[in-house]
C-alpha cells in the first residue's frame, strides 16, 4: 500500500517535472474516451431494436388502447401521425447530415430512440400499429444508422488525429503546431 502511494507520488512528481508526460496522459485518456464514445450509436441502435421488438409484439404488457383513449381522449388520426413521421424523419436526417458536415461532437442518439417509441405508442393508441410498424422501424433504423455512422466517423477521425499527435510527441517532446482550419 505504502509502496503504491510512493509510486503514485513519484509519477506525479515526474509529471510536474516533464510536461510531455501529462500531455501524453491527456492524449491517451482522450483516445480511450473517444473509443468508448464511438460505441454510443451502436448502443442506441440496440435499444431501438429492443423497443421495436416490444412494438412488434403489440406492447402486450400495456392495457388495451381503448382504455388509454377513454382516459386521455381520442389520439391523432393515422394520417396525421404519418405526416409528422415523414417530417421528423426528414428533419432528423438533415440535422444528422449537417452535424456530419460541420464535424460537431453531438451525442443525440438516445433521444431518437425516445422519439421513435412515441411514434410506436401513438400508432398503438390509434390502433394503426400493424399497418405502420415498418414505416416507424425504417425511420428509426435509418436515423440511428446515420447517427451511428456520424459518431463513428467523428471518433475515428479524432482518434487518428490524437494518435498522430502522440507519435509526434514521442518524437519531439512537444505537440505539433495546430494548422489553421481553412474549411471554416
Amino acid at each position: 500500500m505504502e509502496q503504491a502511494d510512493n509510486n503514485k507520488t513519484a509519477t506525479i512528481d515526474h509529471a510536474t517535472k516533464d510536461p510531455s508526460v501529462s500531455i501524453r496522459h491527456g492524449l491517451t485518456e482522450e483516445i480511450k474516451r473517444l473509443r468508448r464514445f464511438s460505441n454510443r450509436g451502436l448502443w442506441a441502435l440496440s435499444l431501438f431494436l429492443f423497443v421495436s421488438t416490444l412494438a412488434w409484439r403489440d406492447f402486450w404488457f400495456l392495457p388495451p388502447a381503448e382504455k388509454f383513449v377513454a382516459s386521455l381522449g381520442a389520439p391523432p388520426t393515422p394520417l396525421m401521425i404519418n405526416l409528422v413521421l415523414i417530417l421528423y424523419t426528414f428533419s432528423a436526417i438533415i440535422l444528422s447530415l449537417s452535424r456530419m458536415m460541420a464535424g460537431l461532437r453531438h451525442s443525440s442518439s438516445f433521444c431518437h430512440v425516445g422519439y421513435v417509441l412515441v411514434f410506436y405508442l401513438f400508432y398503438y393508441f390509434a390502433e394503426a400499429l400493424p399497418d405502420n410498424y415498418w414505416a416507424v422501424f425504417g425511420a428509426g433504423f435509418t436515423i440511428l444508422c446515420m447517427e451511428s455512422y456520424r459518431i463513428w466517423t467523428y471518433c475515428n477521425d479524432n482518434i487518428i488525429k490524437k494518435t498522430e499527435q502522440l507519435a509526434y510527441l514521442d518524437r519531439t517532446g512537444r505537440l505539433p503546431v495546430e494548422e489553421p482550419d481553412f474549411s471554416e
Partner: protein, 272 residues
Amino acid sequence: MFDKIAGRALVPVGIVVTGFLVVCFVLLYSAIKNVVIHDSVGHANNLAGIVLKSTRYAMMKSDGELNSAIIKNISEQEGVQHVRIFNKKGVVAFSSKPEEVNHQVDKKAEGCVVCHEKAAPITSLKNMQKARTFTNSMGTNVMAITAPIYNEPECANAACHVHPASQKILGTLDIGLSQEGTLASLASIRIQMIIFSVLTLILTIAGVITLLKMIVLVPMQKLQEYTERSERNNTLSHPTGLPYELDKIAKSYYFIRIKLAEIEQKLCKENK
C-alpha cells in the same frame, strides 16, 4: 472501404436514400390500402342496402318463398360468398345455404359481438364498424357486412305480422363478399411500388457514384499519379488535364518542387 473518399461519401447517401424511400413507401402503401379498403367497405355497404331494399317488399308481405328466391339469386352473383338474414333472436331466417336456416347464432360470435358486447345492444353502426374480415372454410378471404334491418312505421303497422313500434331492430342482414379482387389489386400496387422504389434507389446511387467518380475520384487519382511520378523522376513536367481546383493544387506542387530543386542545386554548388 471507409478509409476512401468513395466509401465515406456513398455510405451516408445509401443509408439516407434507402431509409427515406422505405419509410415513404410503407406510409404511402398504408394510405393507399386504407383508401382501397374504405372504398370496398363502402361498396359492400351499398350492396347490403340494395339487398335490404330488394327483400323489403317480400318481408312486408311475409313472403318467405320470394325472400329465399331473392337471396338465392343474389348469392349466385360472382364474388358473393354468403347471404343470411337473422331474426331478432339470432336465428337464421333465410340463407343462401339452406342447411343454415333455423340455426341459432351465438351473440358473442364475430359479427354479432360488435353490437351485443354490452347489456344494451348498439342500434346504429358506422360503415367501417359493420365490416369484418375472415377466411372461410374454402380458404377465401371474405369481407362480411352486418347491416341491421330497422323497424319502420310500415312494419310496425303491418296487418300480417306484428312488430311493436318500440322494437328498433327487426333482424340483421349478413352478406359476405370475396376480397380476392381487392387483395389482388393491392398486391399489384405493392409490386409496382416496389419496382418503382428499387429503380429510384438504383438510379440515385448510380447517379451519385457516376458524379462522384467523374468530378472527384478520377481527377484525384490523376493528381496522385502526377505527384508520385514527380517523386520518382527528377525531370518535372507541367501538370496537364486536371480540372477545377485540383489544377491549382498541382501547379502549386509543381512550383514548390521547382523551388526545391533550385535550392538543392544551389546547396550542391556551394558544397563543391
